[in-house]
């Protein structure tokens, strides 16, 4: 493993889904890598709050880097997923039209899908839509069906990327925000709270801070992050029976709009909102928007009027002043940027990593040797429709009853090569306290089970 202070090929700034995929790609290609993450764990920014869909790119701008990265990311996910035991839920998606004007736009969406190579997309009439989804509001008019849009586990996937990178020698430095940076004409010298390191190149995947990191490195930034808040509501598992297919709205020029979808964990999810704001550090939920999302879900599927809410959350998506991805580089300075990944990052991450690594490799004459057969390992399955740990004997009892998380799973996560840094990280790795009671039953037990093992403890004090 790379030791602190060693000269490394690439320092990756930010351990969101893009940073994790980047660490994996660079490591697989034989580069020495350090990942700097300011939070206590991976996936602590926008990557912890998405809609968990693997998109085909049917509605992406034709010919764009985004489309190319989404499609190569999708393909690579499907290639590697079995070796990491990463689940999929094959639901397909429907872009549903609810009035004349939306219905009128479906043919052009179909044309775009076909142009983007999504050859199995097709239009459904009202009767076909309702036959497929009987619980939909009866005012639905028609839909574009995109069969290969599927649901994945949004946290186990990037964790697998990061763990493979780590197994290949990449080093993850948490609570390590970049303090200053200097390029000496040959090497970068990066100052972090845990020391200074030297690198031949820097990869900026800092998400919501992508422009500030670029400014710190280069003195100026060629893009500007305009945070876009997305709020979500998660309905109880009992609600999931009302919908199978991912329900997408007809997109507007600015956003993909509010999605109603199952999650791989057995819930139903509605969101996100798209709220432009200046604030970068405070993804708060707000009452009018939560009410709006619930009303929207009930409008689409009336039976949800009786559904209980399990969780609400918000994320800040790193949109920029332009709609497209902000992927650029200064090869002479060894600087590479994957910025403005405002949406679709979960799908595109593996593709973005491949794309940026391609740019990086072009700029270099020599490099490490590619791993022909990088190590793989199965991640614990958290998907509701596949066998879970509690179904296998010897699990030491169930700790979280809502999500059926066992003591053995908690221990495995805490003892893994890339253990959680905080409670959120443990929740994303195991599902503990993510269910309908939100820790009513298990929070205190979890505080004891994680004692001394999270850099941010659940409850620091022991009763004297």
């Amino acid at each position: 493993m790379t030791a602190f202070g060693d000269l490394v090929d690439a320092v990756i700034i930010g351990a969101g889904v893009v940073g994790c995929a980047m660490a994996r790609r660079f490591s697989v290609e034989g580069a020495s890598v350090v990942v700097l993450e300011r939070a206590p764990d991976i996936l602590s920014g926008a990557s912890k709050a998405n809609s968990a869909i693997l998109h085909t790119g049917f509605d992406a701008p034709p010919g764009s880097v985004e489309l190319q990265c989404m499609q190569s990311g999708y393909d690579e996910y499907m290639q590697i997923r079995e070796s990491f035991n990463l689940p999929i839920l094959e639901t397909g998606a429907m872009v549903a039209a609810w009035d004349d004007s939306e219905e009128g736009r479906l043919p052009e969406l179909l044309d775009q899908a076909l142009l983007n190579g999504v050859a199995d997309a097709r239009l459904l009439g009202r009767a076909e839509v309702l036959a497929r989804e009987p619980a939909l509001g009866t005012h639905v008019r028609a839909a574009l069906l995109v069969p290969r849009e599927i649901i994945i586990d949004p946290w186990s996937a990037p964790l697998a990327y990061a763990m493979q990178a780590k197994a290949l020698g990449a080093r993850f430095q948490f609570n390590a925000g970049l303090l200053s940076a200097r390029f000496d004409g040959d090497l970068w010298h990066l100052e972090t709270p845990s020391g200074t390191l030297a690198a031949r190149s820097v990869i900026n995947s800092a998400g919501i801070q992508g422009d500030s990191v670029e400014r710190m490195l280069l003195g100026e930034a060629q893009f500007e992050i305009r945070p876009r808040k997305g709020q979500f509501v998660v309905f109880d598992k009992a609600a999931a029976k009302h919908l199978r297919t991912i329900l997408l709205p007809v997109p507007t020029a600015r956003t993909k709009g509010v999605v109603l979808t199952r999650t791989i964990f057995g819930n139903l999810l509605v969101g996100p909102t798209a709220e432009e704001q200046e604030e970068r550090e405070r993804p708060d939920v707000t009452r009018p928007e939560l009410d709006m999302l619930i009303a929207k879900a009930v409008e689409l599927v009336p039976a949800l009027a009786q559904a209980q809410v399990t969780a609400v959350y918000a994320g800040l998506r790193p949109a920029s002043e332009e709609k497209h991805y902000r992927v650029h580089c200064l090869p002479e300075k060894g600087y590479f940027c994957a910025g403005g990944i405002r949406s679709t990052g979960l799908t595109a991450a593996l593709g973005i990593a491949r794309h940026v690594h391609g740019l990086w490799a072009q700029s270099r004459t020599a490099g490490g040797e590619r791993f022909a057969a990088p190590p793989t390992f199965p991640l614990p399955n958290l998907a509701e429709h596949l066998p879970r740990d509690w179904q296998t004997p010897g699990h030491d009892g169930i700790v979280c009853h809502c999500e059926m998380v066992t003591g053995r799973e908690i221990e495995a996560a805490l003892g893994s090569p890339l253990p959680p840094g905080d409670f959120g990280g443990l929740r994303r790795r195991t599902r503990c306290a993510m269910g309908r009671c939100q820790g009513f039953n298990c929070l205190a037990r979890l505080a004891s089970l994680t004692e001394g093992r999270l850099s941010v403890p659940i409850a620091p004090e022991v009763d004297p």
């Binding site: 009992a238 939920v285 009452r287 939560l290 209980q308 179904q391 009853h401 009513f440 205190a444 409850a459």
Partner: protein, 414 residues
Amino acid sequence: MSAETYDVAIVGGGPAGLSAAIELKRRGVAKVALFERGTELGGIPRHCGHPPFGMREFGRILTGQAYARRLAGAAVAAGVTILAKYTVVHTGPDGLLTVASPAGIQTIQAARILIATGAREATRAQLLVPGVRPLGVMNTAALQAFVYQEGRIPFRRPVIVGSELVSLSAILTCRSHGIRPVAMVETEHEVQARPAFFALPRVLGVPVMTGAQVLAIEGSPRVTSVRLRLADGKETVLDCDGLIFSGRFIPEAALAEASALALDLGTGGPVIDQHGRSSDPNIFVVGNMIHPIETAGYCWAEGRRVARLIAAELANARNAEPDKTPGRRIIAGAGLKYVVPQRLTLEGRGTVPALNIRAIGAARGRLILSDGSGTVLRTQSVNTAPQKSIRFSLAGLNLAVDSSDLQLRLEPRP
């Protein structure tokens, strides 16, 4: 492999499930199994290190913990088969249960099933409370598990949201562990438990703010403050290091849902008749899942009452056909949140207890019971605090004359 068989399988080891188990054994039912998903018996009271518990059951005042231990000990002594760390993941039809334990998954067969899975407090998410999501936000039961079970102090200066009996329990729990609540906040315009009880926070110097809305929870990674809009419309920020969401109980009905029992929109729990029988004639339901929420003593008495009926039904004839009489519906009308039971079986055994009713908000006025033709059968005047349950007696009424739906409504005092 043939399924293990029991006369009665009880799901949930709180006061209702334990008392039913003890009573079934006392009445001579041979094989009674109690499945508890946690590691220990006792239910919610085992989290309560304070009195008063046990007056009705043991004739003395105990802490919740002592009460839970005593009830669990009585179940063991009575010969109940206790299966802790066993999660019932599915029930019925025909008395089949799917059960998960550290040893694996197995199928159990029981002549009758009794579900007593209780209730939990509404979470911050369910209440759609705005703000960020730091550490230090929890329900009363989680706080009590921290201090009583795990010996941990999760915060020192929390704000308590809610003003039900359990909110006062939260204050007592805090004060016995050197935690000093900053305030008690109630979104409604009056406290939800009996007003006289609120001498307690006053004596302890905890301000009670009614009609106050939580505008935002702040802090990262832990709670640092909460922003409120007070009853007079002014905004204020309270510095605090935690929030306790107390009360607003919700039935723990996941198993009932998974088992496709008919649910009541008012309680959120299964529809039952006066004997506690659900829409599946082999499955009975007792405790706080059917009426969120009553005291441990109430649930204990209810468990005992339903157990007597089950024992009688099993004794009448081994494998007797359960009572499938359709019965008469009781509908919660204007002003009422719920009426329990939701159904009366007129030919059934046992007496009809008083209806258990909760109003939407405080109940001040007259309760009116009428039949399908609108004829008023009985009225009763009421004056109670918002979260206080109301009893409406049916004694002396001949309800077997027809099968039309009964309706109970609240006519507010002008």
